[in-house]
């Protein structure tokens, strides 16, 4: 009888699992600190949450500006209705909860109270896509699909702490409503290594490459950059285009990169239905391009519970799975 050494099973751990690699440079609560900084410059900014201040980094703001912070309780319809009412009086609210509750539970309130009158309310959604192992109740795998159909709403899927720090003041300054797919806690700092600044509504080429072009958003830009490095070892030269604003989408920049002989791959921390892939695909078709695009995205399924590294590997978001997929495509 042979004995096999079994690897210890990974634990699901806390609701908000870190997706930072061991030893990776991170910034603590970048959203909370950026909001405080923006609020110091703009007295119209207020913060609201629905019993998730500590879990959306809103507690940093609450501590700095207690008189400008409003706890609305675990009542998301009230959270967003009240945010609309505050905006009607001239304030600029940032209202935070988890993405699942904003998108699924309070949609009607976001749609009619905020988006239709085009109010400057900034919706901050924690746990976007697959950033928790707590299963479908907490995994907002279809939030962009839900929100893309809402007129007037700007959708931002930031990669890292740099994106978040630079995005917050721009979200406050932009007139209509915005939705930020929040990364919280110790958030990786990645884009400081590149010649990059966040510009609302713009996609940016982070690196050039002759064989493959990645178009990515959110934390998958971090994985795209890592995969590009790994593919270089296989003599595959990969370009990476980061498109943190999903709507309105910078089709011009993205299509200029996609419309080449290179293999085009989209990478997103979201269902393959209704997110970045379909945004790029519709831009490609609208422009009349006969270009194939390969998606790296979550499947159209309710996902498992478990440890985040296990789930990212299983559903294809890990660097290893991205590299394998590209090599298979290139034959």
């Amino acid at each position: 009888m042979s004995t096999t050494l079994k690897a210890p099973k990974l634990k699901t751990s806390a609701m908000i699992a870190s997706f930072a690699d061991p030893g990776q440079k991170t910034a603590s609560a970048p959203f909370g600190h950026a909001l405080v900084k923006a609020a110091e410059a703009d007295p119209r900014i207020v913060g609201l949450t629905a019993d998730l201040g500590k879990y959306t980094d809103m507690h940093i703001f609450a501590k700095a500006f207690p008189e400008r912070f409003f706890q609305m309780g675990m009542a998301e319809q009230l959270l967003f209705g009240a945010a609309a009412g505050m905006a009607e009086t001239g304030l600029v609210p940032f209202a935070s909860t988890y993405s699942v509750f904003a998108a699924r539970r309070a949609y009607d309130f976001l749609c009619l109270d905020i988006a239709e009158p085009n109010l400057n309310v900034n919706i901050v959604g924690g746990l976007p896509g697959l950033t928790t192992g707590y299963g479908p109740s907490h995994q907002a795998t279809e939030d962009m699909a839900i929100f893309r159909g809402m007129p007037n709403l700007t959708i931002v899927d930031p990669c890292d702490s740099v994106d978040i720090e630079q995005a917050v003041p721009q979200l406050a300054a932009s007139e209509g409503p915005t939705y930020l797919r929040l990364l919280r806690g110790n958030v990786p700092t990645v884009l400081d290594e590149y010649d990059y600044t966040f510009e609302l509504g713009k996609a940016k080429v982070l690196r050039g490459g002759n064989d493959v072009v990645f178009v990515s958003s959110g934390l998958m830009t971090m994985r795209a950059l890592q995969a590009a490095e790994a593919l270089a070892a296989h003599n595959v030269d990969v370009a990476v285009v980061h498109a943190p604003t999903i709507k309105p989408f910078d089709a011009e920049t993205v299509l200029a990169e996609v419309n080449t002989d290179r293999l085009a791959v989209t990478l997103e921390n979201h269902s393959v239905v209704g997110g970045l892939f379909e945004t790029v695909a519709s831009a490609v078709v609208t422009a009349g391009l006969g270009k194939r695009v390969v998606p790296v995205a979550l499947p159209d399924e309710f996902l498992d519970a478990g440890a985040l590294p296990t789930l990212h590997e299983k559903y294809g978001l890990s660097v290893q799975r991205i590299v394998a997929k590209v090599l298979a495509e290139l034959g």
């Binding site: 008189e67 409003f70 309780g73 009607e88």
Partner: protein
């Protein structure tokens, strides 16, 4: 008595406007407008601070109509208040009109929110009250809701929020006509005991005959005094009669969306005037 007469006369004109608008469409939420006319008249001709020539004046009190389908009554009140020209009322529900069938803030001066998806108004009112207070304003916020809206969980989220944040400047009025789209309220989803519910949610609660102008004035006065003194939100529960003031419609089998025949509109107006003049002569 002068105050009651003034508000009653305003309510009478609001009812006339509503009938005229209803005739444009040939049908509609006329019954609700007639039932709520006394509440709307009390608010617009006695309680609300506003500037008719500057509906967006920063210091105004806010009146939020969360029952979008009551817009017909609200437009009549806005005309009575001088915010919308009376002659514009005949465009109600027509193409390119500023007065759509369901009230929307983007269309109509003096319309603070887009209601219609029920259960939104009170949540927005909570935010407006918080925002105004945060900026040092003394303006008050009034939210008109219906008993049907008490079905919506969001109404109760907002009721808790208003109490938690001690929003004394917030006054809600609930039009209890005991009727909703599918029938009588107690057969659709039983909301009674309504008074006890609001009391349990921490609100200063009064229940009045919503077609008695004297009782409404007293209740609104109490609300202003009580709420400001103790920082509690105030609710006035108004029992009203659908079609009030027009016996032909009061006696009709109650319908959420009332159909009135072409020849009946003039009869309705005559009954309304006869009733009002008869009362005035007494």
């Amino acid at each position: 008595m002068e105050r009651i007469d003034r508000v009653s006369a305003a309510a009478h004109r609001i009812r006339h406007h509503a009938l005229n608008m209803g005739e444009v469409q040939g049908q509609g939420y006329v019954g609700q407008a007639l039932g709520a006319a006394d509440i709307l008249a009390t608010v617009y001709s006695d309680q609300l601070r506003f500037r008719a020539d500057d509906p967006a004046w920063e210091g105004r009190d806010r009146f939020l109509l969360s029952t979008g389908h009551y817009a017909i009554g609200h437009y009549a009140a806005l005309a009575e208040a001088g915010i919308v020209p009376v002659e514009e009322l005949e465009s109600y529900g027509s193409d390119d009109s500023r007065l759509p069938m369901s009230g929307m803030s983007t269309y109509t001066p003096g319309m603070e929110i887009s209601g219609g998806s029920l259960g939104h108004g009170l949540a927005i009112a909570v935010g407006m009250a918080l925002g105004l207070r945060q900026q040092g304003s003394t303006a008050r916020v009034f939210n008109f809701l219906s008993d049907g809206e008490l079905d919506e969980g969001s109404t109760w989220e907002a009721a808790m929020g208003a109490h938690h944040h001690q929003l004394g400047m917030l006054t809600a009025m609930v039009d209890i006509n005991a009727l909703q789209a599918d029938g009588k309220t107690d057969t659709v989803l039983r909301t009674e005991p309504v008074t006890e519910k609001w009391e349990a949610f921490g609100w200063y609660t009064q229940r009045v005959d919503g077609n008695d102008v004297g009782a409404l004035l007293a209740a609104f006065d109490n609300a202003a005094a009580q709420a400001a003194a103790v920082g509690r939100p105030s609710v006035i529960l108004c029992d009203t009669k659908v079609g009030r003031g027009v016996p032909l419609l009061e006696e009709r089998e109650k319908a959420h969306f009332m159909r009135i025949e072409e020849h009946e509109w003039q009869l309705c107006r005559e009954q309304l005037s006869a009733g009002f003049n008869g009362k005035a002569e007494r």
